[in-house]
Amino acid sequence: MKIQPDAAQFPLAFKTVVLAGFKAAKPEVLLNAALMLALLAVPLWAWFADEPFLITLTTRAVIFAIAGVGLNFALGFGGLVSLGHAAFFGLGGYVMGVLAYHAQTYTALLDWPFVIEGSRSMLVIWLVAILLSALLALGIGALSLRTSGVYFIMITLAFAQMLYYFAISWPAYGGEDGLSIYVRNSFPGLNTMAPIQFFAICFVLLILVLLLVKFLARSAFGLALGAARQNEERVQAVGQMPYRLYLIAFMISGSITGLAGALFADLNRFVSPTMFSWQTSGEIMVFVILGGVGRVFGPVAGAALFILLEHSLGGLSDYWHVYLGAILLGVVLFARGGLYGMLTGREAAHD
């Protein structure tokens, strides 16, 4: 099932735009460009070599990268260490699962007080996933942001865990079995079941999300957030409420991760409570830290590296988690600043 080459070049056009945006050739910019080009080159090569699984694997990395970029916005720029981003990832997944399930079975999602139908359109699903994740982040954030530091870590973890147990025990949408969707949802003009086309969608979304985060980080909001992270009192004196700043940052962060969740569910054509599990939260955090906290492109590098490790270490032994753990430990202890820190120097550019 091949597609027209021009459809695949559509991300390339975006790539050019992004590259043009970088004026100075700082090492970090070069690294960003190399990273994105590699992420694009691998599936394109796989497409020509007819290795569809490699495309799927890269798509997985790209989606994880989006989830990581979402967390990085709260964590790297706002200093909010959330160990519960699986809540948004899972919610996004279930938005896709539930909407597609109702569309697939021709049943309405809600009959009263007004009728809500399911949907098989990716655009609708993304929009709902983003909105609901933002709403969930508003709820979780409003409570957890009353605290900070280690409280915040544990509370976000606990809320994600609550949703995990809820998803398992709520029978309407499959409980622990999860929900299967037999074909991917539709996107106007594309055949989403073709691995390369679905990859293209995810890749473009990753670029858009990266641009958004870069823009936000440089906006007045981003500057205020960075200032708040460094010194709460000062910002309060200037008149900005850090609580509101944090809450908005948390909502943006949650909705980006929610979008990634919807894409991940579409990639697998399946959603299950595992997406809500605390291990998922831990893995999203690993992407961010592996790449480099507070670097816009950090999670992209982290997610790619994680997939690479998962793929290569698995062949070594049944007990490959031991090696993975040892490598992660090594990164935290000896390579502060993650991949980006190692390759471009210590000082994290919070831009």
Partner: protein, 305 residues
Amino acid sequence: MSFTLLAEQTLNGLQFGVMLFLMAAGLTLVFGVMGLINLAHGSLYMVGAFAAAAVAGATGSFLLGLVASLVCAAFAGVLIEVLVIRRLYERDHLEQVLATFALILIFSEGTRWVFGSFPLFLDTPAWLGGTVTLPFGIVYPVYRLAIILVGLAVALGLFWMIARTRIGIRIRAGENDREMIAALGVNISLLYTFVFALGAALAGFAGAMIGAIQSVQVGMGEPVLILAFVVIVIGGIGSIKGAFVGALLVGLTETLGRFLLPEFFKLLMEPSAAISVGASLASMSIYLLMAAVLLFRPRGLFGSA
């Protein structure tokens, strides 16, 4: 629903809470003194259970198993404190989370490497088997009663140690002002290792006690760890008293919620739906409790502002 059943369930909640306290006490001490968040605390619980099962299996003595759980968990605690944790005190919470997450991976798969993929056998000793009849005709397993008593004794011991002994004074001083106790000539690095090993030993001990009535298997620690987080968030991080109250609250809410919620919904809807809705809600009850406490006291019940 009879009074006896309610009383028995309350005892069960108490017993569950006391066990959670042993987990939470170590976590909250380590956080209070060193400012460290340790996700691998659940792994130490697992180490304790496996050590007890291996030693009790080899020697036939449950008591030796308990001793082994204390020793092995404390040893594992010292080992990871010296090799890894020590380097994390000055780092931010984020790096602590990742490093201890990595430790979970290593401990879990490492344990499977050593002990294989099947659960291990660990049973209650014969002299703690059987049941006793308590007042009001409550028939209760001796072993669970022993857990409550041992747990309460450990809690009292901890309170005494922190309030009355020299090491306790240092621990309290360490919570308040790290530079000062260093200036007073206390070997702070030794103190930290001791506190971490103490927390590890408590977790390992809890693992062994609970392992005797549950399944000793890889991954047994993480669900307990998350409950312990909820406990110390409710109680207030760093407070032993808070951990105790929080543990009992969580234990009672969890046990009674599982029992009463389906009964409650049976009054409102047909039984099979009530059982399902009640069970779903019960699985979320402790998190709702946590949210409610946070609404009124963001720093937990006994947390310092």
